[in-house]
């Protein structure tokens, strides 16, 4: 932020700091360079950059027309886990209606072939007079990939007695139980499967959902669904903001560091009874969190910033001047600058003892209408990935019990899932090792 923010004549920058590596990477991720840069196992998506257009009309046209290139579907891990949030997402939880192991296998194979096509794009096959068209057509005659990623997860209920998978359940996979501040609606919790579709545009994810649903109608049914988006970084080059106005997901582990990913994100087969098939998969926690935004907007800025522990304007921890600065809690033992109950301080105390509880946070905003009292229904689709839900998400969430922020939010849905290993090649499919 210190480097990329244009310095206006009215504001005086704080003491300048050398460009941190993270800040540099962040800038690289969200700069307008074309093409998805595949780095190590993760892909950083370039967002369409309308800022170079000269006239407002050009900018609008660029925003509408820009489509992202394909993200490679085949790989050791599912491709939607590591990248920063895309502009649009859609999360559905589904219950499997397939009967028996054979139909379940069919379901996963169908899901795989649709995902393979949708992420690569292309022309849907003509059907002549043999039936209605094979594609909804909402992306036009040629399906554009638009950076589509598809992340498939399995819930604990898939490992009941229906499919004979009970002995293959991932060791740390449980059903999400309520935390003290939760107000969970059973109709919006859990499911046999989770499916997250993310891309550059809303029509791309909706197209993918309709395609997948029509291909799997008998095998699975939607239990709950929520649509989300990630805001454009404001100002450019910063971490996108949530609907409380604060930057969200600044302090994430480094997805470019395979060592960090293997100690925090990817499952560890063999450890604590973790089955071998889980290799290269990851535990996925989804939490649907309503934000009481009208109430929030009636709270003073000082109170807002002390609840988060960061500045609202530039994302800096309250004890520093720039977004990616590391808060120094040892230097502030009584919370004079960053309160002891601040969200960032409880979530990540940055001690050697709490390092192993870090999570890879991938949150999206949601916005879906108005509640019974006439208040806006919007909030966060909190999603995170980790090696062990109890050691990581639940440890973090336990530290957050009773934080001052709880008055302004209400977690109402979501679930725990295990994001399957990636589909390695053209002959592989989702869950092959699990079903073998």
């Amino acid at each position: 932020m210190t480097e990329s923010e244009p310095t206006t004549g009215d504001s005086v920058a704080g003491p300048s700091r050398p460009a941190g590596r993270r800040a540099f990477l962040r800038g690289a991720l969200s700069a307008g360079a074309a093409g998805a840069a595949g780095v190590a196992a993760g892909y950083a998506f370039a967002r369409p950059d309308a800022s170079r257009a000269t006239a407002p009309g050009d900018a609008l046209a660029a925003g509408v027309e820009a489509r992202l290139p394909a993200v490679p579907f085949h790989g050791p891990h599912q491709s939607g886990i590591l990248p920063v949030p895309q502009r649009q997402t859609l999360v559905v939880a589904l219950n499997v209606t397939a009967q028996g192991r054979g139909e379940l296998l069919d379901l996963f194979q169908t899901l795989t072939s649709r995902a393979r096509f949708l992420t690569a794009g292309g022309t849907p096959p003509p059907v002549g007079i043999t039936g209605p068209p094979s594609d909804s057509g909402i992306l036009g005659p040629v399906v554009v990939p638009d950076g589509l990623t598809i992340t498939v997860g399995v819930g604990a209920s898939l490992f009941d007695d229906r499919f004979g998978l009970a002995d293959r359940k991932p060791a740390h996979l449980t059903t999400m139980l309520p935390f003290p501040n939760d107000n969970l609606d059973p109709a919006q919790c859990q499911g046999d499967l989770s499916l997250q579709l993310s891309a550059g545009s809303a029509d791309t994810v909706l197209h993918a959902l309709r395609d997948i649903a029509r291909s799997t109608r008998g095998g699975m049914q939607v239990l709950w669904r929520i649509d989300g988006f990630s805001s454009a970084p404001r100002p450019a080059g910063t971490t996108p903001r949530n609907l409380m106005g604060f930057m969200d997901g600044i302090a994430n582990p480094d997805v470019k560091d395979p060592g960090v990913m293997s100690s925090l994100v990817w499952a560890r087969p063999g450890a604590n009874g973790e089955p071998a098939w889980t290799a290269r998969g990851s535990y996925q926690v989804i939490r649907l969190i309503r934000m009481f935004v009208e109430f929030w907007d009636r709270v003073s800025l000082t109170e807002q910033e002390q609840m988060f522990g960061r500045r609202r304007d530039n994302g800096a921890p309250l004890d520093a001047n720039s977004e990616f600065a590391t808060p120094d809690y040892a230097d502030d033992p009584e919370g004079a600058v960053i309160p002891l109950t601040a969200h960032i301080r409880l979530a990540n105390p940055r001690t050697p003892q709490t390092n192993s509880s870090r999570i890879l946070r991938r949150a999206y905003n949601y916005d879906r209408g108005v509640d019974a009292v006439g208040n806006l229904d919007m909030g966060l689709i909190f999603t995170c990935y980790q090696q062990d839900i109890k050691r990581q998400f639940e440890a973090v969430q336990t530290r957050l019990i009773g934080e001052p922020l709880v008055d302004y939010i209400s977690p109402f849905g979501g679930g725990y899932f295990f994001a399957l290993p990636g589909v390695a090649n053209a002959s592989d499919y989702y869950g092959r090792a699990m079903l073998a």
Partner: protein
Amino acid sequence: MGALLALGILSGCGQAPAASAEGVISVTTSACGTGWRHPSAGVQTLQIHNAASSAVEVTLVDAYNGAVYARVDGVGPGTTRAMPVNVGSGAYTFECDGATYGNRTGPTVRVPGHVRGGTAIAPVSTSQMDGAIGQEAAYVTSGLATVARQTAELAALIKAGNLSAARVTWLAAHMSWERLGSAYGMFGPYDDEVDGTPFGLVNGVNNTAFTGFYRLEYGLWHGESAAELSGPANTLALNVRSLVTAYPGMATLPQLALSDLALRTHEVLENAMQQQLSGEDDFGSGTTLATVEAGIDATRAQLGFLHPLLATRYPNLGGLYDWLNRLQDLVDAEKTSRGWTPVGQLSAQQREELDAAAGQTVQLLALIPPMFEADPNS
């Protein structure tokens, strides 16, 4: 004067903030708020840099009467924080406070001309502060005695098996509780013990940690027997008695007590809107509008304690009371000879009118807490 006012408006709207020729406003171990060398009127963002070795709260005040224009809390050593402010002509000074830093006042800075700036809030005198919090403490002490008497009566009725009388007493006792105006954990763990919901508990209403008024409401309106309800009723009466004893020991520093009182003046109806007007906290009795009514009573009482302070600081106190009255009229209209209307039975028009009045009321109440905000570390 007209031309000067127009100038003030021009400099206050739609214009890039004034240039920063004055440089960074600095706080050092020996001086507070130096470096504002060429001050000018207009909307601007002052940059406050803390070069001292401990956290400070920095306040920009009117040098003549101490009225507060802007404040940033908890500015850490080595950090720079933005202080947006609409500067008018006049004399200003910075005040710096910190638990370790101590208290310092900076040099007086004069802004020339005749430009009108933003609104300043007058400081609160110790006697005003003590007056407000003393009145609230007396109100809560007296209200708690009522709740203790009513919850004891409730437990006795349940023990005697008189559940229909218990339902009447439950409502009276619950309204007395809500009239205390607790919010933001005013009573510490007692808030949940006495008035907690089952949300967030595994197995919800069947969890034994679900205690208090809502536990009894659930039982009284879901056909539970006197025998089943005796335990929870005794627990409630006992917890209220313990709170009566504990309450005097919950007193805090006057500045924080005033800050909390101001927060509650907004928060009680905010909570009522979120949990009662929505019907979320209806566990069978359909009396969430009675709870809103009690919340209005609490808010009125709190506004009363703050009245001497608000009369000179709140720009349109009459407008706030107008909306509060309108909300109360709408709520009162739902108390009929058959009891309170459950919110689920409100017509779309009644619902909209209530939501609008409640929403506008909390919007106006929300102006109060920032006027009395205290930094817990100062």
